[in-house]
Point group: C2
């Protein structure tokens, strides 16, 4: 009938027994009459093991060689999964990123996909094969092996689904779907049946770890219907992620999420002249460091200060760069605050309902949670709080916006056939 792309993460293929379970889930979809392409990550802790090996060889491994090294992890998985599927009597063939033609930019360790060749995929599907593709990896037009960075395998799966014009992309994971917030923090939270790309994107960006934002962005761009579902409960349909235009009624707040992996950097006493902010963020961007929240304020003495947050992993690099920039733009001190967590509420309905922001700030205040920074977008409000306040903030906000029960959105008209 159609084409289904499935994706299984490292935990799902951690040992031969689990690989056979995945094989069964793949065959089940094939038996439904679909052509199946399955994308897998490296087995269990393989990637961590390879990183450890590299670190034992050198404290500062070259990123090209890291990609060469890490891409082997997925290649092991695809070979074993193809064997497992074959052992159940089905035709299967594995393909690494180079063989498919998953073309990326030449930025090692966090390349973006620029093109996916479909000729060989189509040919192998036509021959009746289940195709097992290595996630997380690609190849530059010059034949250099790249990896896609965080969330890479999800992105591989969605991009392949888009390239093949697949009917659906199923992301199998160890949870049953998407929740309005982290079930470890609010245990009575219930799975969401359907959510829009936009909401999922904001939830993902602020730390809901189910899907990496890159994969959701790609799905949104190419309108690939996504399902997040459990690899242990195959009958459970999980959460469907589709375009907001297919949804009619939604709560103003669809989810609450927290991210405590960031640090705040404050550049004090910047001269108030045009181009200073551009110099600072231009230098960071040039070094592939993503900046999240940014606040600039004018002090009494006629100087600016800029506060912004970045991923903690990027801190060392950022500081090196900022020391140079500091001299250039004649800035004052660089101050670091690691005791932060970003708590966000997300909802496509927010734009129509005034007062949501006020409700959020009041709820936090009532719980004695101090707000260090605020940033807003059309469908998201984020507050920076102290790390210890993240969990109490989430609980308070879930209560405030009635997220403890299920059903946060219903679908407009008929469900799309996915």
């Amino acid at each position: 009938m159609g084409i289904i792309v499935q994706k299984f993460g490292g935990t799902s293929v951690a040992d031969p027994q689990k690989i056979h379970n995945v094989a069964k889930a793949v065959i089940r979809e094939k038996e439904n009459g679909n052509d199946v392409v399955v994308v897998v990550s490296a087995m269990g802790h393989t990637t961590d093991y390879l990183i450890k090996l590299a670190k034992e060889v050198t404290s500062n491994p070259n990123s090209r060689e890291m990609d060469m090294l890490l891409s082997t992890g997925e290649q092991v998985s695809i070979a074993l999964l193809a064997m497992a599927i074959q052992s159940h009597g089905y035709k299967a063939i594995s393909m690494n990123g180079q063989q498919v033609g998953i073309i990326t930019e030449c930025i090692h360790s966090k390349a973006r996909i620029v093109d996916i060749k479909t000729e060989k995929l189509q040919k192998n599907l036509k021959e009746g094969n289940i195709i097992v593709v290595a996630g997380f990896q690609g190849v530059t037009p010059e034949g250099e092996i790249t990896t896609l960075g965080r969330g890479g395998s999800d992105t591989s799966a969605v991009a392949i689904a888009a390239a093949l014009n697949a009917d659906r992309c199923d992301i199998y994971t160890d949870v049953e779907g998407v929740y309005a917030t982290d079930p470890r923090i609010v245990p009575n939270i219930q799975k969401t049946d359907i959510i829009s790309y936009e909401e999922m994107l904001e939830l993902a960006r602020v730390g809901a770890n189910v899907l990496h934002p890159r994969s959701v962005e790609t799905a949104k761009q190419f309108q690939v219907p996504l399902r997040v579902r459990s690899s242990f409960k195959l009958d459970n349909l999980g959460t469907l992620i589709i375009g907001v235009e297919n949804m009619e009624i939604y709560k103003p707040v669809a989810g609450v999420a927290a991210d405590s992996s960031q640090v705040r950097i404050l550049l004090a006493n910047l001269p108030d002249i045009p181009g200073t902010a551009a110099d600072v963020f231009g230098a960071l961007a040039k070094n592939n460091i993503s900046v999240d929240m940014i606040i600039q304020s004018l002090a009494n003495n006629g100087t600016n200060s800029i506060a912004f947050t970045i991923d903690e992993d990027d801190l060392d690099n950022a500081l090196k760069i900022l020391e140079d920039v500091k001299k250039e733009v004649k800035a004052g001190d660089i101050l670091i605050d690691k005791d932060i967590a970003k708590v966000s509420i997300v909802g496509a309905g927010m734009v129509d309902r005034p007062g949501i922001a006020a409700d959020m700030f009041r709820s936090l205040a009532e719980n004695n949670i101090n707000i260090k920074m605020i940033s807003t977008s059309e469908i998201k409000i984020s507050c920076l709080v102290e790390k210890d306040n993240a969990a109490p903030a989430i609980k308070a906000l879930c209560k405030e916006f009635g997220l403890e029960s299920s059903e946060m959105a219903v679908v407009k008209g008929d469900l799309p056939n996915v």
Copy 2:
């Protein structure tokens, strides 16, 4: 000055410390003023581990997927070795079989190299890189990953040396060079300084495990000077292997070797009509089973019997094929003898000295060793004996032909500059 290709096996790169030792040996050659290409195998027991994983997934893994799986082993090694070389301040770049363009036939698990592209190698050398190449693997013109089978990494190294017109190919190993026989059997045997391709080939073929015959054959074909040398004693020059035309004086017998990995198959009561032998060996060849010794004899009743030896690993396959052939050619029983070892004497000088064969048979007889089968070539005489008789036979023959001391060959004229 020139181009040196080096090859290090799995034991040499078994852990990060050993990888750094290899890096030092590589850098030493670079410091000598040479361009260096280094070929490595998978780390230590990686290949065994991957085979075990595959066997846990299925008892009969598909050979294409096995190649996909096993080729990751070398890819891990090359990335780590490149990192190690870089950490000592030298430019290095790793390349897998696909990236180099090591083009092979499409016979999975034992492909032969048909072409090696040198453009990217030359370009990377020109840029001052030490190139680290994955041994044992190649790629078909269609982009399928293949492995070269036994002795694959040695063959990769020699083939690359030939393609680059390298000055020398150094095979680093855990022994100090080539011996006239196995030092575990004749402890006072001494390392050979120089030996011809032809003698090495016969020694390798009959079980001297230092070099796989494929690599020696390739070296001979392209006249690549080979050195077998110790990865632990870098100052030791090991054994130089060159063309016999560069050697003047040699002992009639250069080495003695035994191979106990074969089995003997006897096809009895074959009809004495033309084409029978062709049918039998044609069927085996079609299935990539190599046959070694062959003896055909006519019985009194007008039927033939054919006895031949094959590698023990091929036995199951061979028996399946022979059962079919048996019906076709109306043969009698198929008898198997596993209790065999092939003991051979090898020497380029044999052809000029009559009586060597007689000396060999007499020496074995004096030691009460029964001969089951005999085969001869221009520079080799092989006798099949019972497995238990292999070691006593080797000792007797080393004594008989004066191989316990060193110096088995001297060089004609000046030593070639290798």
